[in-house]
Symmetry: C2
């Protein structure tokens, strides 16, 4: 996995010519107008502990002379690109090293996130441009495969460097903020299973199973049979190997196929971290699929990144990291349920748990950054650092939410009387 | 309170001429076409244990000769009205006694509710007509006062006959289905207070406080100060009297005014059973009011009847019982929060708890029905029996939901880490 190749850079889609650390020399010092524009950028940020260093080494800050965070714009073009479309170009310029950050990248991005939510950071033209750049890629069957391949098939070895031992790439559940990541991922599985009130002998279908750990956990600890779908071949291969090694292959079937091709009927439908890739246009179809595969007394749970307001993912994230992804609002999620007479029973927002999860990932990523650099290159290292940091920041600033939505058929009265069972006994989980 | 007067009938808006038990004689026996139409009605119901008895004593049923439920149509017109607009006319004809039901009215209405949800019960013309009949009455400041007066100012003595001792006219929370009504209303208060994590010394504003029991409970058991708004003068008068009697008038201020006129800022915003009367057009305005009155670290809770899909209340309920009322979907509720950057943290659907609450109310109502008849008249007795029975049925059939939505400002990170605190100690509630 350690050879470098042009393909690696291609993973990010920035283009072959981009190189790290070689900003084009700017022949001219920053003029008065440019200094004014730079100052305006800082004013939009609205905090006096961030400073700028321009391509000609001029320093600008609104407050203290020693700001906590310093952003280096190493080319004149960075300034103009930031003014035109900060969402996209900060990411690209940071990735190739034309922008550098001294101090905490996460803290800087929390500040950026806060101004973006206040709506002071962009004019109408910027908004239109951002939306266009940000248009979701098609989620046709083929489009989905390409989008998922882009993100999930860049190598299990890479994800193994910074995910937990079970390879869980979704928000964990921390009973306390001090819980470790491995324990928190298991706690998340149990949290989901308790919400679903899994009973031994029941059947579960999972849409978008990642590396298969939730299905594994359900089969191992709750005595259910699971059929788990995923279109990422690397993830499915990993999941199958793991379930065989544990001798549980008669209880979990991993299917490399799209959720739209789910067959059979089940007591439980579960989907953790797939809805982000479904596309709101497909939500009623997802609802009708759930309607088709769920038994009359069935119930389900969808776990997804979301928003308070309908805004696309950050343009850079959607372009470079997660093509086709979109975080829905609760109102948009309702489209899944409305037409299929499914009833939302319980919604929990675990936003701060995703911030905590990502902090763990970022810490592990940085601890293994030399290996990442060997596997790919410096561009990749910086892009993923930005992606992980930006995600921590988005959940901390409240720009992203994490919704767990439990539901059942609208006329099913065999639903939990209260939610007490989720919390009553910390130890007595499942059939362990 | 026991004198009968034309005004009493007027409360229901059916008209002065309506009298009980005197159906106009139908000179002709039911013809072939009418028998066919009656049979079609039963087929729409889709169950073979409901029978019809027509105005000429002809009996029709699809299955057994001794159906569990028999519906008497005592006039030819009942049949045609039911076919034209069952939602409205069943209620009116039942109220005046032109329709009578042998067997369980609730069970009949659950069956009706199930077909309505399946969408087989009405054609497009019926739908348009129902929607028009069903158009929400205006919720301007003045319109709201008229609508609220219609329902809530018909006399505290009436509600005292069948509500719990604290006069709580919203869904209770039953820790177990066996919990009594009085205990379940207190448990609901505590459930709400725990979700809001009330701390001694905090300030609370309540929008739509009914007879004031939640505000009373918060002040008595959680050491908070509450300002509680309601436009119903009879309810406010009752609440003020009760808080004075308890010597807690320095901790709760009951204000007879519209929620739109709330002044001041508070740690907590709470509204239990008011949103049904707000009207979806006013939701963004409600959001901006919450935004205006909530402190930066504030949080809130809205408790409301709702729907899985956007459908108005049953036409009869909206016309005769709850003018201007509408049960929103979660998607519609989101309009409260979206534009004001409020973040939904927790949604709990307590549908079956409202069915249980209403069963208690209906039982107490029937136990005191002679007193109701003395206060009003037989029309009123039958209308409220139908309203309470229909409401039990709607929650049992899954046509109505009860949403408790907890929220905070979008950038507030001082939010509960988990929901464990709501459930952990049954006893250790508040500062008791």
């Amino acid at each position: 996995m350690s050879q470098k190749s042009p393909r690696n850079t291609g993973v990010l889609g920035i283009g072959e010519s981009a190189q790290i650390g070689e900003p084009r020399p700017s022949t001219l010092a920053a003029g008065k107008i440019e200094l004014g524009l730079a100052r305006k950028l800082l004013e939009q940020l609205g905090c006096d502990d961030v400073g700028l260093v321009l391509w000609d080494d001029q320093r600008i800050s609104l407050g203290t002379k020693n700001p906590a965070i310093t952003v280096h714009l190493r080319e004149r073009g960075c300034l103009y690109r930031l003014l035109a479309n900060p969402d996209l170009h900060f990411g690209d310029d940071y990735t190739v090293g034309r922008i550098a950050v001294e101090g905490s990248l996460v803290d800087l991005l929390v500040r950026v996130g806060r101004i973006k939510r206040n709506g002071t950071g962009s004019g109408p033209l910027q908004t239109v441009y951002a939306r266009w750049m940000n248009r979701p890629r098609p989620n046709s069957l083929k489009g989905s495969q390409e989008n998922i391949h882009h993100h999930y098939d860049i190598g299990n070895a890479f994800y193994r460097l910074w995910l937990d031992e079970r390879m869980v790439y979704t928000c964990a559940y921390f009973p306390t903020p001090e819980t470790g990541l491995e324990a928190a991922q298991v706690a998340k599985f149990d949290h989901v299973c308790r919400k679903l009130r899994l009973r031994p002998g029941e059947t579960v279908v999972e849409a978008g199973c990642g590396w298969g750990a939730l299905a594994f956990h359900m089969a191992e600890h709750y005595g259910v049979k699971v059929r788990a779908y995923n279109i990422s071949r690397e993830q499915i291969a990993y999941a199958r190997e793991r379930i065989r090694a544990a001798g549980l292959e008669d209880r979990v079937e991993y299917v490399q196929d799209d959720y739209r091709n789910i067959e059979g009927t089940y007591d439980v439908f579960v989907s953790v971290g797939m809805l982000e890739h479904v596309g709101t246009k497909q939500y009623p179809e997802l609802g009708s699929i759930i309607d088709r595969v769920l038994k009359p007394q069935g119930r389900g749970l969808i776990h997804s990144i979301g928003r308070n307001r309908a805004i696309p993912f950050n343009a850079w994230t959607e372009r470079r990291i997660f093509p086709g992804a979109y975080p829905p609002t609760l109102a948009e999620c309702n489209r899944i349920f409305e037409d299929s007479d499914l009833s939302v029973l319980d919604v929990e927002n675990l936003r701060l748990h995703y911030a905590k999860t990502l902090e763990h990932w970022l810490e592990r990523y940085e601890a293994n950054v030399d290996t990442v650099r060997e596997m790919f290159d410096e561009l990749f290292v910086r892009a993923w650092r930005l992606y992980l940091s930006g995600s921590v920041a988005a959940f901390l600033a409240g720009n992203l939410q994490l919704f767990q939505i439990a539901f059942a058929r609208g006329d099913n009265n065999d639903i939990p009387w209260t939610r007490e069972h989720i919390y009553l006994s910390e130890q007595g989980i499942g059939d362990r």
